[in-house]
């Protein structure tokens, strides 16, 4: 069974610095970090102390609310430092890696012979459960629940995103194992979104035991939330799970090799990346591990993830659990004389026709982090819908979030979106509103009131 979804709305950001399809180096990890901040609403419980020895797969943190959800170390080494922020909030557990990696042996398992309960336990034990994200809200899936279905998007349309066909080319068998395993956790099946642009060549078209959906369109067509919206929208009271193909590979490896092996190809991208390409590394590696890709004397922003949804981690920061992309940008903290009044601003891109960048559709831009204006109230109302291929009213949803009106948030679709789905709305917003933050706050309110 296969289904086709065509999305007309959206926007592919023309930004410079996409990664060439070669793997420049294999990173030997020095210090890696496990970051509880990668997970929404997580209250972490620390399971290790500074100086403790850990293997790849040793639990480092647990979820205080359901303590069988574990977060394990991606490398073997010694716990070097526990970093806390304001009010002693746990930010990072830094682990100094050993020269030779050793893994906890969870034992090879044949997925076909396992029950749903055994699969759940295997994922929980190895620290791969947090790879499963629940919609609504984008939180860690609850092991006690059974989702309506599980969704995977095998392509990313985000700016400069890693090409998963390339990055996961060798992992297909593991991904298949993971799909077989996850299919046992739901009655609705595993739904896999495949990019229409390379439908005929993508290795993911060979996946079995899953419902394939071909999705055509600009960003955010590759967002799993958008795909869910068009395949089977999340209604009140329903739960679906999502998981990224990168995490599927790790899940598959757990069953096939018995190891917690989250190594992955990471795309180092961005206008300020020097000859952008892929590296092989771990989640939690430091920006310093890719220092040949940038000039540290420049005023840069180091983003774990893509430019729309990634996290600003700083020059000393660490890449996130889910991320397989680093974006390097220039900080745009410069003034521009009469910028808004210039007839042409050829070095800048605008999705609107008030500038002339639409005349050069193939041009790519060295974007920086300047806000290009000051914050205002919502004024222009039809720009958001043009980049949101969902049957939603984004401005109404955002206003409901701002008003803390739970009934209206429900009505306008808070169950169907997380920040990444509205990231383009934020990009195009002429009022410079922090739209993703509004959604974050809205979801936080829902979690507080409804759960």
């Amino acid at each position: 069974m296969s289904n086709n979804i065509y999305l007309k709305k959206g926007l592919d950001l023309p930004i410079n610095g996409s990664a060439a399809q070669n793997t420049k180096k294999v990173i030997v990890p020095d210090v890696v970090a496990v970051k509880p901040t990668d997970f929404r609403g997580l209250v972490p419980k620390l399971l290790v102390r500074e100086g403790d020895k850990v293997l790849a797969g040793t639990p480092v943190l647990a979820d205080k609310m359901s303590q069988n959800i574990l977060f394990t170390s991606p490398v073997s080494g010694t716990v070097a430092e526990v970093v806390r922020g304001e009010k002693r909030k746990l930010l990072e557990v830094r682990i100094k890696a050993d020269a030779v990696q050793e893994y906890v042996d969870f034992g090879k398992k044949k997925v076909a012979e396992l029950s749903a309960q055994q699969i759940r336990e295997a994922l929980l034990e190895a620290g791969l459960w947090p790879a499963l994200t629940q919609r609504p809200y984008g939180i860690i899936a609850n092991p006690e629940t059974k989702p309506k279905a599980i969704f995977v998007s095998t392509f990313s349309t985000a700016p400069l995103a890693a090409n998963l066909d390339y990055a996961l080319n060798d992992e297909l068998a593991n991904i298949q194992t993971a799909i077989d395993a996850l299919a046992k956790l739901t009655d609705g099946g595993v739904h896999v979104g495949i990019g229409a642009a390379n439908e005929s060549v993508t290795p993911f078209r060979k996946l079995q035991n899953a419902v394939l959906h071909t999705v055509a369109g600009k960003h955010p067509a590759g967002n799993v939330g958008v795909q869910i919206h068009h395949i089977s929208p999340v209604q009140k009271g329903e739960i679906v799970w999502t998981v990224s193909p990168v995490m599927l590979a790790a899940i598959g490896k757990l069953f096939n090799t018995g190891k917690y092996d989250v190594r992955r190809k990471i795309a180092v991208t961005g206008p300020k990346a020097i000859s952008p390409a892929y590296v092989e590394g771990y989640p939690g590696i430091s920006m310093k591990d890719v220092k040949e890709f940038y000039n540290a004397s420049e005023n840069l922003r180091y983003v774990s993830g893509d430019v729309l949804t990634g996290t600003n981690v700083g020059a000393e920061g660490f890449i996130g659990f889910f991320d397989n992309q680093i974006t390097l940008l220039e900080e745009g903290d410069k003034y521009e004389l009469l910028g808004w009044a210039k007839p042409f601003r050829t070095s800048l891109f605008s999705a609107s026709r008030t500038y002339f960048s639409w005349l050069t559709p193939n041009k790519k831009y060295d974007m920086d982090t300047n806000l290009h204006g000051g914050p205002r109230a919502f004024v222009v109302n039809d720009v958001y819908g043009k980049v949101l291929p969902m049957d939603l009213y984004p401005v109404y949803l955002l206003k409901a979030c701002l008003a803390n009106d739970i009934d209206k948030m429900e009505k306008f679709g808070i169950y169907e979106v997380i920040e990444e789905d509205l990231a383009l709305c934020e990009y195009v917003c002429p009022s410079k509103i922090y739209i993703q933050q509004i959604i974050t706050d809205g979801i936080a309110l829902m979690l507080k009131e409804m759960c």
Partner: protein, 393 residues
């Protein structure tokens, strides 16, 4: 550029909190951001942003209004020259137009922006660009001879009661420029309607016997009436207005509303840049035509429907006022309904209400009021449809 930047950086501390002129912070900020796109960087969420901002959007509308404004200035002089039989050349005409229209602009911007600056300062906001457009619109939709003090009061009313009490640009229910006009219309009807107010200098000449340049007094047969006042084939013929005059705009009327061509140039700019909604413009024209032809069919008027588009403020309202993104309908489907009703109501008032020869202002203000209701039902409908779709799936 660096010199200017250094100067701004040097005086900046004076205007910051605790500085000597800290109470002018918003004002300083407005001028600074006018000169320089600020160096603010994104803090959360998307790390890069589109280079369009509200200033750019608003300046597009202002540019779109320039043809109507220029024509309005010329036409003001031209109508005066015509009324008094002066046979002025181009520069005289323009000079007279400038003398009459510039003060309207000065008052509009001084009063409106003044209030915006003060209220931004009180609320600690940045000054919003919204009034750049309102201030540009207001002089174009009033009779050229409206006394400046009246204009000042009306602008103050519209900005304070119509906008700031709701929270400023983006929060207002009614279009501030139209509110200004409505205030004038209902408070000082003698200055806003009749046959003598539309041509510069005529009112004063009639009352006081003097004018800027009166020549030999008003020419024989001068009526000063707008086409709307005599909206019938016979009436138009008597006043000597051909369809072409109305398209060109060489007729009496509010300053900027007369020329179809100038307004259409603006419409092209707005649609091209995507700043205004083509749906609202198209549906408003459709609505106007529909009722125009209905009236023609049932004998309420002997003018074919398309005449309604070129007379009075219909087109100006359709292009520049009904499309205000804040006060119009927000949903795409709602825009069709809203626009259609604006056009339909405007012509309905014209044809069936003898008290009001022009209905555009009231139609838009009324539909501004009902736009949220239209949106409400459009959204309810969409949510119900979606719920049904899910159930059957």
């Amino acid at each position: 550029m660096n010199g200017l930047r250094n100067f701004v950086d040097k005086i900046k501390p004076t205007f910051e909190k605790g500085g000597k002129l800290g109470f002018l912070h918003s004002t300083f900020d407005a001028f600074e951001t006018f000169l320089f796109v600020p160096n603010t960087v994104t803090r959360r969420g998307a790390h890069v942003r589109d280079c369009v901002d509200l200033k750019r959007v608003m300046i597009m509308v202002v540019i779109a209004l320039v043809p109507a404004m220029l024509f309005g200035i010329w036409n003001t002089g031209y109508q005066h020259s015509l009324a008094f039989g002066l046979d002025w050349g181009f520069w005289n005409i323009v000079l007279y137009g400038l003398v009459k229209v510039l003060p309207l602009y000065i008052v509009s911007y001084l009063v409106g922006l003044g209030i915006e600056f003060v209220s931004a300062q009180i609320q600690g906001h940045e000054v919003n660009e919204g009034y750049l457009v309102s201030g540009m619109l207001i002089p174009l939709i009033v009779p050229v001879d409206v006394p400046l003090w009246m204009l000042a009061i009306a602008v103050a009313f519209a900005v304070i009661i119509g906008k700031e009490v709701f929270g400023g640009t983006g929060m207002n229910i009614w279009n501030p420029a139209l509110l200004t006009r409505a205030f004038l219309f209902f408070s000082y009807p003698s200055k806003m309607s009749g046959d003598t107010v539309w041509t510069g200098g005529v009112e004063r000449f009639v009352n006081e016997g003097v004018a800027f340049q009166a020549g030999n007094g008003l020419v024989d047969g001068f009526s000063g009436a707008t086409p709307l006042a005599n909206a019938s084939m016979q009436g138009l013929q008597n006043s000597g207005y051909s369809l072409w005059d109305m398209i060109l705009g060489t007729i009496p009327g509010s300053v900027g509303e007369t020329s179809v061509i100038a307004i259409l140039i603006g419409a092209v700019i707005l649609l091209w840049t995507g700043v205004a909604s083509w749906k609202i413009m198209a549906s408003s024209v459709l609505g106007g035509l529909a009722i125009g032809y209905l009236g023609y069919a049932v004998g309420a008027t002997d003018l074919p429907g398309y005449y309604q588009l070129v007379m009075g403020g219909f087109l100006f309202g359709t292009v520049f006022m009904a499309t205000d993104p804040v006060t119009s309908a927000q949903t795409e489907c709602g825009k069709w309904i809203y626009g259609f009703l604006v056009g339909a109501l405007a012509v309905t008032v014209r044809l069936w209400n003898p008290g009001y020869p022009e209905g555009m202002m009231l139609a838009i203000l009324l539909m501004n009021t009902f736009a949220p209701l239209i949106d409400h039902y459009v959204i309810e409908g969409s949510i119900k449809r979606r719920a049904k779709k899910v159930k059957t799936a």
